[in-house]
Symmetry: C2
Subunit: 354 residues, 2 copies
């Protein structure tokens, strides 16, 4: 906006609330965009005030060989603020990570807000500030967006859909259907931290040790990994549905079986205790800053070393292998040496975990 003073009285971020007019497309909408979104996400695309962002094409794409990646995720997590993160940070990192799982670096993000009439502007500002900080950390702009407001009781406070466009370098092509018998399965760190942090928060449990979400961007970890192993077969972030769902998806896509070892799985003791207390299964729990990689056996040792050197991969581990299996089963070798089938979400569904 050329003139920040055009709206008369500024928005009241202390006691103000979201009003239907903020979503009506008139002056109040423009004011919310200018004084909240454009101010926080400060970048030339948003400041231009158009309904879309026009992006220059990066040189490696213009030169040919590169490909674009498009990914979208709705975020409805409850509570909005939790130990280790909030819906805003989750919304940015979730999409950055979806791009990273295709080997892509983020080019720009779009953010669409659905707000409930009466939602406190102070909370909205806190969420938007957190998104802006997360975007700066990654070095990507929230280049365009949209805001809708629905009547009180027709949505729960705030839902955020973030969409990212990214660029994949030539020669990089991780995909779920590329897992092959003999490949090795790695994870970048402890499983279940996000899911347990949210559930503990909801249940009002006060654990002595802090249970925090692992909400974090994985783009630089992936860059380091691709530098030593450009032909990673599969990269996936085990979010909703956890490692269990992710491995089952891959087994289905690739038409293979996967065997993992319980002993090798990195799980924080406090997460294991909380799971026991809440009746949850760590393998079903969402992660928001972890990845699964499936690679040719000869690539695994070098990759593990690089992952462990990265701050987001210090607990990385080789957890299992891909086998030929026409049933496409995911199996767990238990600590006692038995085997069980790992189903898709063997526990009860956990709504609004992300």
């Amino acid at each position: 906006m050329n003139d920040r003073q055009q709206f008369g009285r500024r928005l009241d971020f202390e006691g103000g609330r979201v009003e239907l007019a903020h979503g009506a497309g008139g002056k109040a909408s423009a004011q919310l965009t200018a004084e909240l979104f454009a101010a926080a996400f400060d970048n030339p695309w948003l400041n231009a005030g158009n309904d879309a962002a026009v992006l220059a094409l990066p040189a490696d794409l213009a030169g040919g060989g590169g490909r674009l990646v498009l990914s979208t995720d709705g975020h409805v997590v409850s509570p909005l603020f939790f130990p280790g993160g909030d819906i805003g940070r989750l919304a940015v990192n979730g999409t950055v990570n979806d791009l990273a799982m295709l080997g892509a670096r983020p080019l720009a993000l779009a953010a669409a807000f659905i707000l409930e009439e009466g939602f406190a502007l102070a909370e909205l500002r806190r969420i938007v500030a957190s998104m802006a900080a997360a975007a700066r950390e990654v070095g990507v702009a929230v280049a365009t967006g949209d805001t809708k407001v629905v009547e009180r009781g027709q949505a729960d406070r705030v839902f955020i859909t973030t969409t990212g466009v990214g660029v994949v370098p030539a020669g990089v092509a991780p995909a779920g259907d590329r897992a092959r018998p003999g490949d090795v399965v790695l994870v970048s760190g402890t499983m279940g931290d996000h899911g347990v942090a949210i559930m503990a928060c909801r249940e009002g449990l006060g654990f002595e040790t802090a249970l925090e979400s692992d909400c974090a961007p994985l783009n630089t970890l992936v860059t380091d990994m691709l530098a030593v192993a450009p032909d990673i077969h599969v990269l996936r972030d085990p979010t909703r549905g956890g490692l269990a769902a992710t491995l089952n998806e891959i087994a289905q896509q690739a038409g293979v079986g996967i065997v993992i070892n319980e002993r090798a799985l990195p799980i924080r003791p406090e997460v294991a205790s909380a799971c026991a207390l809440l009746g949850l299964e760590p393998l079903d729990l969402a992660n928001e800053g972890k990845l699964v990689a499936i690679v040719a056996r000869e690539d695994a040792p070098g990759l593990l070393e690089v992952m462990r050197r990265h701050p987001r991969g210090s607990n990385a581990a080789i957890i299992g292998e891909v086998i030929a299996d026409q049933h496409r089963f995911v199996q767990l070798v238990t600590e006692f040496g038995g085997r069980r089938i790992v189903g898709w979400l063997s526990g009860h569904p956990l709504p609004r975990i992300c």
Copy 2:
């Protein structure tokens, strides 16, 4: 998905309802994606089953000079089905049109669904089928997506955020800040049809003449327009907030005044009557298949002719001009020759119009 039979019993699209498990990331989520979304949007990106779509770069972009456009819009319209369209068709065309307003042709769409637990699968399927048809009409794929489910009462049935990535040819650069004194303002057809159709539907008014939303894609109209006038200064679709908000936004962005003539404004008689009855102002009402173009005076006659030859522009008209005005006012010359300032959304806000 490689194996459509993997889920056992198929989804019940007659009596079934959305369950929390459909959003939990496990087998039920995968089943909804496979049997509903991937089946309807049928394309290689969705069928690949990854969390993002990898898009080959079009030749004109790879050759240099072209730019990418990113646009996102949340859709919360109520009712979900209305004369002339539904939330699905709106979600596709809204984003296609946002891209078109930058002169871009759509490359791919992403769709994120937020569903209320208990929403009928039959209605969801109808909406998704409508999106798929709208996407086919435009020739663009819904290449990636996401589904979240929130508990009953925490959202109103279904919200859809669509995001599009498009390509702008070299030399095309319409933008809100390019309106110049002396430029001419055109609209592509009648104003207010969508807004009145929705409001009439909500109020349960049975008009003798059918009031239909104008919901339609504008991409081919824009292609025809750019062919005769590549240097269109501004292109905007007057959706939420209507023509009044759109012209005020442009006046603010460009630092100019705009004068339009009431006599020249195309408005259907039935829309005018409904507005009188409902206490609405046609200039504030949303359009979902119309555009405003601002061009150099010498380009206007040729452009008008081309617009009128296109099925979506048969009622196109020159409605006013851009003037120098440090106050950045939008003025209406009334039918009686008087002048009044056109404010941003002079009537009451109309929630959930799109």
